[in-house]
Structure formats: C-alpha cells, structure tokens
C-alpha cells in the first residue's frame, strides 16, 4: 500500500463513473464516504453519514453545488457545512452542523481521496488511462502472488496475463478486499481494451482462489 507516515491518496473511483450532479458510495481503509460531483463539476468527499439521523449521504441527491440527504433533505456544501434544513426554511443552520470532509483530487481520469494528510500530490500515471474498476475479494498480497509481480510506488501492478500486458492500480478497501482499476494505454483500441478487461478478470479469479486457499 502506498502509505506514508502522514497519509496517502486512495484512488476510489473513475471520473467517468461520477457524472455531474450525482453521488456514489466509496470506501477507503478509513471508512465509507459519499463521493459527489456538483452540477458545475466540482468533486467532493464527505463522511457517509448525515449527522441529523445517521442516514447514509451516498443515498442522497445533488442539486446545484450542494449534496442533500435523502431522509430530510438537509443539504451540505463542499466544505461540509450545512446549508439548509428544509423543515425550517427560515433558519440559517449553525456552523456546528457539518459533515467531515476529505480532500479529493481528480487526475488522469481517476478520483483520489486523501486518507490522512498526504505530503504530495497523487502519483501521475503518464500515458495510462483507466478503463474500468472491479472489486477483488482478496488482499493486495494475494493479487501480487497471483500476478507474480509487486506493486510499484504508485500502486500499479504490471504483469502479463494470457499473453496480454496488464496494468492494474490497486488500493485496499478493507481486509481481503481490494479495489482494482484496470489501466490501458491512452490510445488503446477497443480490442485491446476488451483483452485487458478479460485479463484483469482472469487475474482476479486466481487471486481470489489463492486468498480462499489461504483462509
């Protein structure tokens, strides 16, 4: 895992999976988050829990530049402060009502969430673009053993699977569960993309059975 003493960047989702005015659930080793993009395109990450009645904010909705809880419509700004309580339209919510937020960076088609306080920017993936994401019921060690390769400093695993070069960006979600982003060359053809996708699935199956065999 690309952990540093002060924190690290976790690639939690692909930019393409978060269109404007939507919210999705995401996860880092630090817990669940609500990852959302405003109407104007700004990305934000907050704790996945409305402080009012504990509802998951990832079930909520985005209007304009605010994320709203689906339960009572309480809405929050990117900075986490509560903007509006619909039951009391005349009330300005006090500053104390807020959700915890985490820094998000968008680069090379990936959304990176800060876990802790990372010293640097997310790593660059020069020339590579993400194709799709999948979840493996295996830890990073099992995936490395299945691939016969180890992660580089960016969290990328490079290997050959079924005669196909595969590049996977890995990040731990929780014990024995890893989020896998399949990366391809920027100019990859549709046929190459399909082959990379299938190769990643094949590697996942072997890593999962390896994990199962150990457990």
């Amino acid at each position: 895992m690309p952990a540093e003493t002060t924190g690290f960047w976790a690639p939690v989702a692909l930019s393409a999976d978060l269109p404007p005015a939507t919210v999705i659930p995401a996860r880092t080793t630090a817990g669940s988050i609500a990852l959302w993009r405003s109407q104007s395109g700004r990305v934000a990450a907050s704790a996945d829990r409305c402080p009012h009645r504990g509802m998951r904010l990832s079930h909520g909705f985005v209007r304009g530049e605010a994320l709203s809880c689906i339960y009572h419509g309480w809405s929050y700004a990117q900075a986490g402060n509560c903007l509006r309580i619909p039951a009391h339209p005349g009330l300005s919510p006090p500053e104390t009502i807020r959700v915890a937020t985490q820094k998000v960076e968008e680069a090379d088609g990936l959304l990176w969430v800060a876990v802790g306080d990372p010293a640097h920017q997310p790593p660059a993936l020069a020339g590579l673009v993400p194709l799709r994401s999948l979840t493996a019921e295996a830890d990073i060690g099992a995936i490395e053993r299945a691939a016969g390769a180890t992660l580089d400093a960016r969290g990328v695993l490079e290997t050959v699977e079924n005669s196909q070069a595969v590049r996977l960006l890995l990040v731990e979600l929780q014990p024995h569960r890893t989020l896998v982003h399949v990366l391809v060359d920027d100019g990859a053809t549709p046929a190459e993309r399909i082959m990379a996708s299938r190769a990643a699935e094949s590697l996942r199956r072997r890593a999962e059975s390896l994990q199962g065999g150990i457990a």
């Binding site: 009012h52 504990g54 509802m55 998951r56 079930h59 689906i70 619909p86 039951a87 009391h88 009502i97």
Partner: protein, 281 residues
C-alpha cells in the same frame, strides 16, 4: 438487567386471521417462538423449548411476551366506533432496530423526500410548531396539532390538503397515529405501527388501520400502506448506527424532531433499551 423492562411488554407476533393456515414460526427478542390456534381456535404462543407464553388477541393481531406483562395491552377506543373498516396490512421485515422503526413513524419532516408526491412534496417542507408531552397518567408520549401539507394524504384523498396528525406512543415498539379523515372531516383515521422485535437490529413491522373509507378496495388500501412502508425501509436499513442512539451527541435534533426527542427520553426513563445504543461511539 436493563432489557427486563422491555421483556415484560406485549408485542405483536402475527395476524390472528392467519392462524387458520397452520403454525406460524417466528421470533421474539432473539427467541424462536411458534404461534398457532388450539382446538377451540384460541391463539397459543410457545417457545421452542415448550414454554407457554402469555397471549392475547387485539387489533387483528396476536400479542405475546417473553416476560410477565404487568399491564394490559393499551386500548384504542376510536377503533370501536361503528362504521370503521379494519385493514390488516400484513408484515414488512426491516433490518433495523425496532425503536428506529417507531421513531421514523413519528417523523413528518421526511415526507417530501421519502414519500415524494404522496405524503409530502417540495416546496412544502416546513414543519410548523406542534405540541409534545409525556402524559404521566397514561404514561404515553403524545404529539398533537401536527400539521403538514400532503399531495395525497390517503387513498381516499383527491388532491392536496393540509393534514392534521396526532401521534401516540403507548408502548416502546407501538405507535398510534390519528390523522385527518378526508371523507369525514370531524373524525380521525387510525393508523397504527405495531413492531415485533425479532432482534435488536431486526424487526417485523405490522401496520394496521381502522378507517372511515367505504370506497377504496381492500387491495388498494393495503398497497398504499405497503408502498409507504417499503419507502421507509430504504431509509431504515441505511441508518448508522443500526441501533437507536439514546444519548445526546450522536445525532442532531431540531424543533421538527420534538416527538423523537420525547420518545427517546421516555425510552430512557423506563430502561426501554432493547434496540438502543446508550453510549455515543
């Protein structure tokens, strides 16, 4: 033990009208039980170890208890008025605390967002002040003068109306709602939520109604309530924590939540903590 206070309460364990179908196997507060009818057609509730539990039949449901109830089950005098139709809505299983299920039933501020275009709609989101009290004689939580604009308050309502509500919590997992009755403005429709605690984080919800409505078919009345409760389930199964936090600090109430605040206070006062979380985590 704190759970004893709730152990001695009455809980719904099934529909009386369904006993003719045979033995109904279910659970109460973690213990497996069987509900059946004896040769005389009377309801019998036993644990799987063979212990015979207290039983009574009221409001269409069979009620039982793992402990020794010291009080009779609450009454609903309005349900005895002639001309009402009784609606057995059936059961909705929800993976949440039984107390969270009741608290959601007491809440009106979620109507525009969860029951959109049925029980509420934007921009009519404001919750006006209402009255809440814990009535000492009856030992019940009451909320009165609750008003809310509703696009379709009941199956019998055509078009939007401002509906008036009264809420009553006569036992830790049951609530009775009195609601403006569109065909008879001088009477109240009675809608109840009877919650069977299967475990601290799992419950069967048995809604039951006593309505003045001679027009709507029974199927439509049942479908209307099931639609509402399935919408509620999507919320209840996604609240964190699953247990109801009784200590302040974990959640932030506002004026609109006065009923919930009183309900939590009343639960805590009586040590009704099965399904509750006592220390903020």
């Amino acid at each position: 033990m704190a759970e004893n206070a709730m152990l001695n309460q009455w809980y719904p364990v099934g529909l009386f009208s369904h006993l003719a179908k045979g033995v109904y196997k279910t659970a109460l507060m973690g213990e497996k039980i069987a509900v059946s009818a004896d040769a005389n057609g009377d309801a019998v509730v036993t644990t799987c170890a063979g212990r015979i539990l207290p039983v009574l039949v009221r409001f269409g449901h069979v009620w039982s208890s793992l402990g020794e109830p010291t009080k009779d089950l609450f009454s609903i005098p309005e349900a005895d008025q002639p001309g009402r139709r009784f609606v057995e809505v059936g059961v909705v299983r929800v993976r949440c605390s039984p107390l969270r299920a009741v608290e959601n039933f007491l809440d009106i501020a979620h109507f525009p967002f969860v029951h959109t275009d049925i029980l509420g709609a934007e921009p009519h989101t404001e919750v006006q002040n209402y009255k809440v009290e814990i009535r000492d004689v009856e030992d019940e939580v009451w909320a009165t003068q609750v008003k809310f604009y509703q696009p379709q308050a009941a199956k019998s309502a055509s078009g939007g109306i401002t509906t008036e509500y009264m809420y009553r919590v006569p036992s830790p997992t049951c609530s009775v709602l009195y609601k403006t009755c569109p065909p008879r403005p001088t009477e109240w429709d009675v809608i109840t939520l009877f919650v069977q605690p299967l475990a601290e984080d799992l419950c069967d919800v048995w809604p039951w109604m006593a309505l003045f409505d001679d027009e709507t078919s029974m199927t439509d009345l049942i479908h209307f309530q099931q639609t509402i409760f399935l919408q509620d389930r999507s919320i209840l199964e996604n609240q964190i924590p699953h247990l109801l936090p009784l200590d302040p600090g974990m959640e932030i109430p506002t004026r609109a939540d006065m009923t919930s605040v009183a309900y939590r206070r009343w639960l805590k006062r009586h040590n009704f903590t099965y399904g509750a979380q006592l220390v903020a985590q």
